[in-house]
């Protein structure tokens, strides 16, 4: 047997697989967006299975609270760029494939260029804005997206935008959810997530990528799989054969004004800034740095608390929820100056 194939002999032996499928994997170019709870296991299995070119896109750095579910990182990696650490680890795991870190934050300005070189996009992101951006960019360029999302004990998996035999494209994320108010849906740092769910859903995404590339099995096209790690029950929801959504342009990425800890402290000392905590009551009870307090999903109901002419610095644990709050204020109260504390309380 060719030494290259020895590594893959136990999958080449599968019925309907063979050396042809292995060759297809070798030629494939897959972009994993988000090297977090879903991206880590997905990328691990794409690398082990021999996908020839894997891009890993993440602008974030490793933090200690990621480690419970982001299994490619060690505490010693804290502070390093996730995309770079992930590529380094995966290159050791499989020296014969090409790994490309992408460390730019994906925006409406660069998304088309970033995905251009890839055949398949894996959506392992942790926010709605990037999910919609990837979805819309994939629809505009005719590429499939392997979607995964998790919260607490429940996950979703699906494959979007696959060209079907009748020439139409299969449903995409906007067929499921035309739009979402991101301030109303808690993310993992609020509601928590069980690490093994991330592993299961991430592996399922890699599984669908392999099926897509090798054209084997029944791919999750026109349906979405819901999985519950508490009961181990899963449920398949049919969505229909073709998309009913028209996507003609990318939604522009809103730039969020941020401010670092040092500048914020100076502003507080000179009474030119006011703090707004958007974490949960529970988080507030444990520790706070002062200022007003509304949980993120209550900001919209309290817009009259924000006065034109004043400058507010929103904060949370990581800068993610405060970013959503700033986006909301920029949109609803353009006369009020609002910043998000960069890096959240982690940087305080």
């Amino acid at each position: 047997m060719h030494p290259d194939l020895l590594r893959y002999s136990c999958q080449v032996a599968l019925p309907g697989f063979g050396e042809t499928a292995q060759q297809l994997l070798k030629q494939a170019k897959v972009l994993v967006v988000g090297a977090g709870g879903l991206g880590c296991p997905a990328a691990q299995y794409l690398a082990s299975t021999g996908v020839g070119t894997i891009g890993i896109a993440d602008f974030d750095i490793v933090s200690i609270s990621n480690l419970h579910r982001q299994i490619l990182y060690n505490p010693a990696d804290a502070g390093q760029l996730k995309a770079e650490v992930a590529c380094e680890r995966l290159q050791e795991q499989n020296p014969d494939i090409t790994l490309l870190p992408v460390i730019d934050k994906i925006t409406s300005a660069n998304v088309l260029q970033i995905i251009d070189a890839y055949d398949v996009i894996v959506d392992g992101t942790d926010n709605f804005e990037t999910r919609y951006l990837l979805n819309d960019a994939a629809v505009l360029t005719g590429k499939p997206v392997v979607y995964g999302a998790i919260y607490q004990f429940e996950g979703q998996v699906a494959v979007w935008n696959v060209l079907t035999e009748d020439g139409s494209y299969s449903p995409n994320y906007r067929d499921l959810y035309p739009q979402v108010d991101a301030t109303q849906v808690p993310n993992c740092s609020v509601g928590g997530v069980i690490p093994t769910l991330a592993g299961i859903i991430g592996c399922m995404q890699a599984n669908e990528v392999i099926k897509l590339i090798t054209n084997t099995g029944e791919i999750l096209i026109g349906k979405v799989l819901l999985f519950d790690a508490q009961t181990m029950q899963s449920r398949m929801i049919k969505l229909g054969a073709s998309t009913k959504t028209k996507i003609t342009a990318l939604q522009q990425t809103t730039e969020i004004l941020t401010i670092n800890a040092k500048a914020t402290k100076e502003g507080l000392a000179t009474h030119t800034l006011e703090l707004v905590d958007v974490r949960t009551d529970q988080e507030r009870d444990e520790f706070d740095i002062g200022g007003m307090h509304f949980e993120l999903d209550e900001v919209e109901d309290n817009l009259d608390e924000f006065k034109p002419g004043k400058t507010y610095v929103f904060y949370c644990s990581s800068g993610k929820r405060s970013g959503e709050a700033v986006k909301l204020l920029q949109q609803k109260l353009p006369g009020v100056k609002a910043y998000s504390l960069e890096g959240g309380l982690g940087s305080w």
């Binding site: 988000g34 977090g36 709870g37 879903l38 991206g39 392992g124 992101t125 942790d126 926010n127 709605f128 999910r131 995964g148 999302a149 998790i150 919260y151 607490q152 429940e154 996950g155 979703q156 067929d175 499921l176 959810y177 035309p178 739009q179 979402v180 108010d181 991101a182 109303q184 849906v185 808690p186 993310n187 993992c188 997530v193 991330a198 819901l226 449920r235 398949m236 929801i237 049919k238 969505l239 229909g240 999903d297 919209e300």
Partner: protein
């Protein structure tokens, strides 16, 4: 008629339980049901969108609900 509704994800938190029962008029459709739920649970409307599945199939607004249908409310999920 009485319709049983299963809640997924954040809908469990919004309803406070994992399944609820609502009274829907005969010939009521998904739009009727959504309006009724959103009135009772304003947080649901604030999500901007959520999926309603009837018998494990995505349900359009105009679909008529019958008593034996299994209805599920599946809100968006952001985590990764």
């Amino acid at each position: 008629m009485e319709i049983n509704i299963l809640a997924f994800g954040i809908a469990k938190d919004i309803f406070g339980v994992s399944s609820i029962s609502v009274e829907v008029s005969e010939q009521g459709n998904i739009a009727t049901l959504k309006a009724l739920l959103e009135e009772r649970y304003p947080k649901l409307k604030q999500l901007a969108s959520y999926m309603v599945a009837v018998n494990n199939e995505y349900a359009e607004d105009k679909l008529i609900i019958t008593e034996r249908d299994e209805v599920a409310i599946i809100p968006p999920v952001s985590g990764g």
